[in-house]
């Protein structure tokens, strides 16, 4: 009896090194920590590089003087589950987007999708969006919304917001223009 219990305690002690190894890198051999540090440093530098390239690409392809971005957002989303959205600018289709389940979830949680980033000349433009999805009682639902956008000299942001109109138990599609 005594012998077996001692074995059990030894067994518990034996599980300790693995336990400590999980938590701390302090016990790692030197070459390992050097390599880990290099991976960390590389990741930081790659993030910084991507940030610079992201901004460079935008400045190059979509300068602020002509830039227009269209975003899609959703608040609550009880009465509408978006499947796809089609975007037309001046009657020309510029985006046709099919949502994955993960993207739908991200929208519901408060994420805002940058649906389209493009260039438009100064002046008036017509932005039209068609939303397709499931409306109340899981019925297929398609709704369109149109907005006249006045493009000036600075970048223009348009938000297409799907919100719930509780009084009518219906989704509501609101367009908001941000400067």
């Amino acid at each position: 009896m005594k012998t077996t219990f001692i074995t059990f305690l030894a067994a518990m002690a034996a599980s300790m090194p693995a336990f400590a190894e999980e938590a701390a890198a302090a016990s790692a051999p030197e070459d390992r920590s050097v390599l880990d540090a290099e991976v960390q440093s590389l990741r930081r530098e790659v993030v910084d590089l991507n940030r610079d390239l992201f901004m460079l690409e935008e400045d190059l392809l979509f300068p602020a003087s002509t830039q227009v971005a269209v975003f899609v957002s959703m608040d609550v989303g009880t009465f509408f589950a978006v499947d796809s959205v089609q975007l037309k600018v001046d009657d020309k289709e510029v985006a046709n987007y099919l949502y994955t389940e993960r993207e739908q979830e991200a929208l519901k949680r408060g994420g805002v999708q940058r649906l389209w980033l493009g260039n438009l000349k100064a002046g008036e433009h017509e932005v039209t969006a068609f939303f397709v999805g499931q409306g109340p009682h899981e019925r297929d639902y398609k709704r369109g919304t149109t907005l006249q956008v006045e493009k000036g000299v600075g970048a223009k942001y348009v938000e297409l917001r799907i919100s719930d109109k509780a009084s009518k138990l219906q989704p509501e599609f609101v367009v908001k223009v941000w400067e």
Partner: protein, 628 residues
């Protein structure tokens, strides 16, 4: 004999259990109503677990000044993203900066302390982590608060301060999910503090949890396995069997549980019953230590039952199985050295976030992939593979940018050429349009209309035809004036008066509509003139700054190109080094396995020799054959 075989007891999972919910990235991110579209875009990627993409956007939008409203939320998220990517130094810097800022509101401050505590915990700095976690105020949500509490307790366990861990966990009440981990860890702390009875009672409660959460089912299995082996060591085989039977047959602990159940039966002299779980194990992967041991346990049971023929047969089968496995391990070590293991690991990995183990089942049985499942179960290999995957993703990212950057350079050059070519024509066209004169004419028209409206001069809005009729009537009146007093012109004078009266009547009737139309036409004209002036301004600005802007873009493209090349070289080198490290870990692990198989093989040969010796020394006796 029992003690000799209980090598596996060392594998009983009596380490603190760490909840896995945090894989949902950064729990407790404060709920915010998005007021910056670009912050929403960052969240859109973050909620899809695209941590790299959201971090890049966050950094870019921050530098572009697009996150003004959510500056602090964004910083908190940035720190959390660095934490989730394993960038502990950067995460720590972000949280410490937030905490150093006196204007940081309490709820952001509490989260910053919490995440800082997590960073320090992950780095193994338990004292500092403990201090940070205890700075947190009362604004955390229920789940984060529970996690904070458990982290403090786990830190104490790591530092072997069992009494403090017990005090921390004893009267703690948290959400059910976290409470189960709290009870498990309290049980572990009590056993380690020398109170096995109380500790095992708590583990027993966890072992009987009714739950649908896979993580809690796994925790329940761990608790039952720990109790089972503890009871086995305490010579309480019946109690051991009860706990071991609660372990799921399909879970990762099932092999150890089956082996233990067999030993519990054997301890109760129920060798026939013990054969059932042990033989079940023989159909499983021989790399599992429990399976390896079962190859010795089965003939041991037969020998105890006096069925020496079966005992011999199974010992020989064990020796042959061990030899075959050793040979396969040798092949795999060769494959690992040649680098094929990593290709298989990458193929199995999917997107690197989830489903590794599920996908491993679909891999073909080849020397390079055979032991992946086993290797991936090890923390060191898994962490190393994460780094390798990260480096692979970085290499792909850099290669894609290397291609794009060439196109960027071409684009800048083409744009400059196009500008130089189009400039003369554009200037010529602009020269033909004098927006200032047009604007002056518009102003004159406006003044004319306003004067007519003030005097209600209905003729001012006459049509061309009406204007011509007015002119005709004026000429007629002038002619009639020359014959004033002549009665022969009286009828003509009357007709002219009547005609002018009708014309003025019609003009007066049309005035309201025409003045409205004129007003609208002037408004449209205003808009057109405004557009023309806007375009003229925009065009002027574009022309003025274009060469400088193109040159600045060209310099940025030139500057970034060598950065990409230099990083790509370093990433390739690090990837190769990481690959060698993974191969070393894998080979070391497989060589350990081979050594263990050698030991088992020696034990099997020794047992076989003993049986042969006894058979040679003893007179023949009738065997007790087991029931099939």
């Amino acid at each position: 004999m029992l003690g000799r075989f209980l090598i596996l007891a060392a594998l009983a999972p009596l380490a603190a259990a760490v909840p896995v919910v945090e894989q949902e990235a950064i729990p407790g991110l404060p709920a915010v109503k998005v007021q910056d579209l670009h912050y929403g875009d960052v969240l859109f990627h973050f909620y899809q677990h695209d941590h790299f993409g959201s971090l890049v956007r966050l950094a870019a939008y921050r530098d572009q000044g697009r996150l003004a409203v959510h500056a602090r939320d964004a910083e908190l998220l940035r720190g959390g993203l660095y934490l989730s990517l394993g960038q502990h130094r950067e995460a720590r810097e972000v949280f410490e900066r937030l905490l150093a800022d006196a204007s940081t509101p309490p709820e952001v401050r509490d989260r910053a302390w919490f995440y800082l505590g997590k960073v320090l915990y992950a780095a193994g700095l338990f004292e500092e982590s403990d201090r940070a976690l205890r700075q947190v105020g009362a604004t955390l949500g229920e789940d984060m608060e529970a996690e904070r509490h458990l982290l403090i307790a786990q830190g104490l366990l790591y530092r072997e301060r069992y009494d403090q861990a017990i005090a921390e966990l004893s009267n703690w009440q948290g959400p059910r999910y976290w409470l189960a981990y709290g009870q498990f860890n309290l049980g572990v702390a009590l056993v380690r503090a020398g109170e096995p009875a109380r500790g095992l009672a708590l583990l027993d409660a966890v072992g009987q949890l009714e739950t649908q959460w896979p993580e809690l089912m796994a925790l329940r299995d761990k608790a039952n396995l720990a109790i089972g082996y503890a009871k086995l060591q305490a010579a309480e085989p019946a109690a051991a069997r009860i706990a071991l039977e609660r372990v799921r047959l399909s879970g990762p602990q099932s092999s150890k549980a089956l082996l233990g159940a067999g030993w519990a039966d054997a301890a109760a002299q129920q060798y026939q019953v013990a054969l059932a779980p042990w033989q079940e194990l023989q159909g499983r992967n021989l790399l599992d230590a429990a399976v390896q041991e079962s190859y010795l346990a089965v003939p041991y049971a037969y020998a105890e039952l006096g069925a020496m023929a079966q005992a011999v047969e199974y010992y020989e089968r064990a020796i042959s199985a061990y030899d075959a496995e050793r040979s396969r391990i040798g092949e795999s070590i060769g494959a690992i050295r040649s680098g094929t293991l990593l290709a298989a690991a990458m193929e199995a990995g999917g997107d690197g976030r989830e489903g590794w183990f599920a996908q491993l089942a679909t891999l073909p049985d080849s020397p390079e992939s055979r032991y992946l499942y086993h290797l991936l179960a090890g923390n060191e290999f898994q962490e190393g593979l994460k780094n390798y995957r990260a480096l692979d993703a970085m290499a792909e990212n850099l290669a894609a940018w290397q291609q794009s950057i060439g196109a960027f350079a071409d684009m800048v050059e083409t744009r400059q050429q196009a500008f130089e070519q189009k400039l003369p024509a554009a200037d010529a066209r602009l020269a033909t349009v004098d927006v200032t004169t047009i604007n002056g004419r518009r102003d004159a028209l406006q003044a004319e209309f306003e004067a007519a409206a003030a005097a209600r001069d209905v003729t001012a809005l006459a049509t061309g035809q009406e204007r011509s009729q007015i002119d005709t009537l004026d000429a007629v009146d002038a002619e009639l004036a020359r014959h004033a007093g002549d009665p022969a012109y009286d009828e003509a004078r009357e007709k002219a008066r009547l005609a002018r009266g009708v014309l003025m009547w019609n003009l007066d009737g049309a005035w309201k509509m025409r003045s409205w139309q004129a007003n609208r036409a002037l408004r449209d004209l205003n808009a057109t003139v405004y557009d023309a002036r806007t375009r003229e301004t925009a065009s002027g600005r574009a022309r003025e700054g274009a060469p400088e802007r193109n040159a600045a873009l060209g310099h940025r493209v030139e500057a970034v190109d060598p950065r990409i090349v230099a990083l790509a070289v370093r990433v390739d080198e690090a990837k190769a080094a990481q690959g060698r490290r993974l191969a070393d870990i894998a080979v070391r692990e497989l060589e350990d396995q081979r050594r263990r198989l050698d030991e088992y093989s020696v034990q099997a040969r020794y047992a076989l020799a003993t049986i042969y010796d006894r058979a040679a020394a003893a007179p023949p006796a009738p065997a007790r054959e087991p029931t099939p």
